[in-house]
Symmetry: C7
Subunit: 97 residues, 7 copies
C-alpha cells in the first residue's frame, strides 16, 4: 500500500501534469501549447519558522496547479506513482483557468 508523505518545513509535494499531445477530439497539438511545466499540489509542509519562532504557513494550497521551474526538485516514488518535492520559493506561480 502506498504511504502518505507529509513534506518537511516549506516543501511541497507535486504530481507533474503530463501535457496531452492530442486534444480529446484527436487533433495533434502544436508544440507551443504543450511546453508548460506544471503540476498539481498533493501535499504541503507546515512551513518554515520565522525569527520569533512562529510558523509561516506555505502560501500554496493542496489541489492548486503550480508552475514549476525547469530544473530542480526531488523525485519521490510513493506506491507506483511518481511525485516531485519542491521548496515553496522554487514555485514560480499558480495557474488558474
Amino acid at each position: 500500500m502506498a504511504k502518505r508523505l507529509i513534506p518537511a518545513f516549506n516543501r511541497i509535494l507535486v504530481e507533474k501534469i503530463v501535457p496531452p499531445s492530442k486534444t480529446t477530439a484527436g487533433i495533434l497539438l502544436p508544440e507551443k501549447t504543450s511546453k508548460l511545466n506544471s503540476g498539481k499540489v498533493v501535499a504541503v509542509g507546515p512551513g518554515l519558522r520565522d525569527k520569533n519562532g512562529n510558523q509561516i504557513p506555505v502560501a500554496v494550497k493542496e489541489g492548486e496547479t503550480v508552475l514549476l521551474p525547469e530544473y530542480g526538485g526531488t523525485e519521490v516514488k510513493l506506491g507506483d506513482k511518481e511525485y516531485h518535492l519542491f521548496r515553496e520559493d522554487d514555485i514560480l506561480g499558480t495557474l488558474h483557468d
Copy 2:
C-alpha cells in the same frame, strides 16, 4: 484556452516589447533606438514577507513598462503567447513617456 498565472512571492510576469524596426510611416529606425530591452507588466505576485511576517507589496504595477536586464528571467508559455517571469529586484526601472 489560455491559463492565467499568478506569480509567486515577488515575481513579475512580463510580456517583452519587440522594438519596431520601422516607424509607422515606414522609415527604418537606426540601431540605437531599437536596443532597449523592455516589457509590459502583465501580472505581479503578492510580494515577499518581511522579518515580522508582513507582506511587502511589489513596487511595480500591472500595465507599467519596465526596463529588463539583458539576461535572466524564466520563459513561460501561456496559450500561444510567450511571457517572462522576473523577480522584482531584477527589474532595472520603469519607463514613462
Copy 3:
C-alpha cells in the same frame, strides 16, 4: 556494548530502512516499490537556538519514518549497527501509512 548517541543541536540519528526485495509470501517486488530512501528516527538532538537564545525543538520525533535525501548524512557505527546522522532541514518529510 553499544554506546548511546545523543545527536548535537538539530541533528537526527536515523537507521536506514532496507527495502524488502520480496514480499513475505516470496513474490519478487518490481523495482519501483523499492526505490524509496527512508529511515527510522532513532534519536533526535535538542534543536538549534534562535536569536533570543531559546531552543527550537526538532520537528521530527523518535520512532517516525522519514524520507531521506539521496546524498548526504554522516555514517556512524554504534556496536555492530550502522546509522546515519542528518541535520533536521535535510529531511524531506515524514512517511505515514
Copy 4:
C-alpha cells in the same frame, strides 16, 4: 521621443562624462587629468526598504557628479543618448569643485 526612466530601488541613472582631451583654449591635456571615471546623476530610484519596511532614500542626488567604479553598471539607451545604471553602493563618491 525619448522615454523617461525611473530607476528601481537604489539604482541610479548616470550620464558618463567624457573627459575633454583638450582645454577650451586648445591645449592638449596630459593623460593623468583625463583618467577620472565620473558621471552626472540623471535620475535616482526611491531607495531600498529596511527591515521595518521603511524606505531608505538614496544618498546621491540628481545633478550631482559621481565617481564611478571602473567596471560594472548596465548600459541603457534612451532616445539616442547612452546612460548607465548603477546600484547606489557601487558609487565611490561624489565630486565637488
Copy 5:
C-alpha cells in the same frame, strides 16, 4: 612543562580516543567496532556572543565523550600530548554508555 589551553569562543579541545584493536582479554576486535571517531572533551571555550551581546555557553561539557566529524579540526600539541580543536557545531553528538 605542558601549558594549559583555554579555547576561544565556541571552540572545544578534544583528546582523540584511539580505539583498542584487542579486548582486554586479548581477543582481536572486528573492524566494525573500531570505526567510531570519538574523543574526550578536555577544555571548552566560553561560547559565542548572541545578537544582544550575551554569551551562549557551549552545550558540550568537559569530560564528555563526543562523536567527531571524519575531517576538520586543528591539531594542537601541548607538552608531549596531541589534541584537536573543533568548533562546537562541528561536534556530531555525545556518546553515553
Copy 6:
C-alpha cells in the same frame, strides 16, 4: 583645477606614503624599515547605516595615518595627484608616533 571627492558610505580616501629610501642626513635605510604600507587619510565618507537607519560614523579620522592592506583599494586621480579609496573595514589599523 583639482576636484574635491567626498567618499560614499564607509569609504576612505587615502594618500599613500612613499617610504623614504634615505634619511634626511642621506643615510640609506635598510629594507625592513621601508616595508610598511601606510597612507594619510584625506577624506572620509559619512558611514554606513545600521539596521535602524542610523548612520555609523567612520572610526578613522581625516589626517590620521593608517596601515593599509597589501592588495585592494581603488586608484583615483584628482588633479595631478594619485589617491586610493578603501572601505573602512579594509583598514588594518592606525599608526601613531
Copy 7:
C-alpha cells in the same frame, strides 16, 4: 623611531614566539615540543560594533599568550620588529602555565 599601531575593529597585533630549539641548559628539544604556533598579544583593537551600535570589546587582552592558526594573519613591520595582525575570531585560544 618605531611607530605604535592601534589595530582596527577586532584585530589583534601579535608578536610570534619563536620556540627555543634548546633548553637553557643546552639540551636539544625534541621536535614535538617546538611545534606550537603561539604569540604574545602586543595590542588589541577596540572591537566590532553589534547591531545596536555598541562596541563588543575584544576578549583577548594585551600581554596574553595566544594559540595562532597555522595560516593567515597579515605581516607588519614596525621599526625593525616583525608582527602579525589577526582578527579576534582567528585566535584558537589562550595559553596559560
